[in-house]
Amino acid sequence: MGDIFVLAEHRMGEIRDVTFEMLSKGWELAEEAGGTLTAVLLGHGVDGFAKKLSDYAQRVLVVEDPLLENFNAELYQMVLSHLMREYKPSLTMIGHTGFGVDLAPALAVELGVPLATDCIDLCFRDGSLVVVRQMYGGKVNAEAVLRPSESYIVTVRPASFEAREAGAAGGEIVRVDSPLKGEVDYKRFVRYVEPPKGEVDITAADIIVSIGRGIKDEKNIPIVEELAKALGGVLACSRPIVDKGWLPKDRQVGSSGKTVRPKVYIAVGISGAFQHVVGMKDSELVIAINKDPKAPIFSFADYGIVDDLFKVVPELTKKIQELKAS
């Protein structure tokens, strides 16, 4: 077993959490298999990052280049394939993020290296890489083995592993000359666009009642809105509701929306795909109402009701109103 590469993901001056989660898992794998853990850092003006990463890995490979200031999958791919050919890591870990999904499949095809995406766990077993990933919106876990190879790439789902505390790994910082010859003319980073500030800040709410696909129709939304009102809370939602244009983007909870930690989160007609759960799992109390008893949301809830939301929610609203009046 040789090197394990972890690609550091950073954006707008911050190393993203998934990097430390992968370093933590990478450390464990390297210890088991007797390999070394290498953090790979591409960017511009990233000395501070390199120093920080050296606390978590035995080596930090740094490629400094003004062309790498912002993420551009094409340029990142050129640099990474150069490093992977040179250092021949057994495993390269990349976050399953907006950054990783744009990069990993092309890199794997270019190098002819097997790739498994969106992994929630991984290990080496009898020399083969075995991964766990989810299918059918998180309703099923799949254990899969990758085709035997000298080198593998995985993308790792954020929040799958606990990030370790910073150790004193005392990693050696190794600077590698950038192989880039210049800007590519076929793909150019223009700018970032921040999400618009909405009228309601759901991250500040103590009580959130959130709707998902189970609401079926826009005209049913007031049924749940009534409950939110009775509780003095705010109405939020999962992605499909925003995609359909039924609620504005600032109400969306999940990886591409907001992360919330209210005192109580009531999920109504939300199945609980990872992309949603990651945005609400740290709520103090989670209540789920869904008619599918196997909906993944129940495994993140403290209390569950397996029934038709259109029967339960109006009853609950009534009970809350009665309690408030008494």
Partner: protein, 262 residues
């Protein structure tokens, strides 16, 4: 603007209970409705919106068995001009990489300005096909696209990142974009519309016609081989409240009250 859009016919598991088969390798789909993959539905709509604005053609392509024609007919009814299905028993067990190879063998000889795919499929969730296909074709790509503005010979696209942040890129055409849900409002198609679309061309091609061997696809030609499926172990064991809607509502109201939330 000639556009190719890649689509997948998938079981609709969004609100269904998923049951794993006895051999532990797949799920029971006999009683499940099949639909066009949700991400692909947005990709098809985007292709048709572009065609309506700028002219040109839309070709819908899929890899799958005969049942997948239902998804292609839906694309034709929405406004695609023709459809192609790659079909072969050897494709069974293919992962995203093997599917990308099958698509590449077809598309490398076609004329196009733009390829759109869904950002991922709702069944396997690989999110590999589009970006891998772009690499095989040697064209630039952008994944998770939420907005496309076409200019002369290039496109300005918005990619969706975490927390609602968007990254804006300018990409030269021909290019491939993987489409994120919510980019548009997919149109409704009637049964009548699907019937009328039967007059449009739907071609079926086997692997041999595309110059691929059985070992290039299926389990042999894939990066990943599924060993077993299982139900995810719960992170928490939720207390399931029992009783009529009125009973469970009363219990829940008491729980909220006891925590000072009412």
């Amino acid at each position: 603007m000639d556009i190719i859009v890649c689509v997948k016919h998938v079981p609709d598991t969004t609100e269904a209970e998923v049951v794993i088969t006895e051999d532990g390798k797949s799920i029971k789909t006999e009683d499940m409705p099949f639909v066009i993959n949700e991400w692909d539905e947005y990709a098809v709509e985007e292709a048709i919106l572009i065609k309506e604005r700028l002219g040109g053609t839309v070709t819908a392509v899929t890899v799958g068995p005969e049942e997948a024609d239902a998804t292609l007919r839906r694309c034709l009814a929405k406004g695609a001009d023709r459809a192609i299905r790659i079909s072969d028993e050897a494709l069974e067990g293919s992962d995203g990489y093997a599917i990308a190879k099958a698509l590449h063998s077809l598309i490398k000889d076609m004329q196009f300005d733009l390829i759109l795919t869904g950002a991922q499929a709702s069944d396997d969730g690989y999110g590999v096909v589009g970006v891998a296909l772009a690499e095989m074709l040697g064209i630039p790509h952008a994944a998770l696209v939420k907005k496309i503005e076409l200019k002369d010979g290039s496109a300005v696209v918005h990619r969706e990142l975490e927390g609602g942040l968007e990254e804006v890129l300018e990409v030269k055409l021909p290019a491939l974009f993987t489409i994120q849900t919510g980019i548009n409002e997919p149109r409704y198609v009637s049964i009548m519309g699907i019937r009328r679309a039967r007059a449009k061309e739907l071609k079926v091609l086997g692997l041999a016609e595309l110059g691929l061997g059985a070992g290039d696809v299926g389990v042999e030609g894939s990066w990943l081989r599924i060993q077993r499926l299982y139900t995810p172990p719960p992170k928490k064991q939720a207390t399931i409240l029992q009783g009529s809607p009125s009973d469970v509502a009363a219990q829940l109201a008491e729980i909220l009250k006891s925590r000072g939330l009412v």
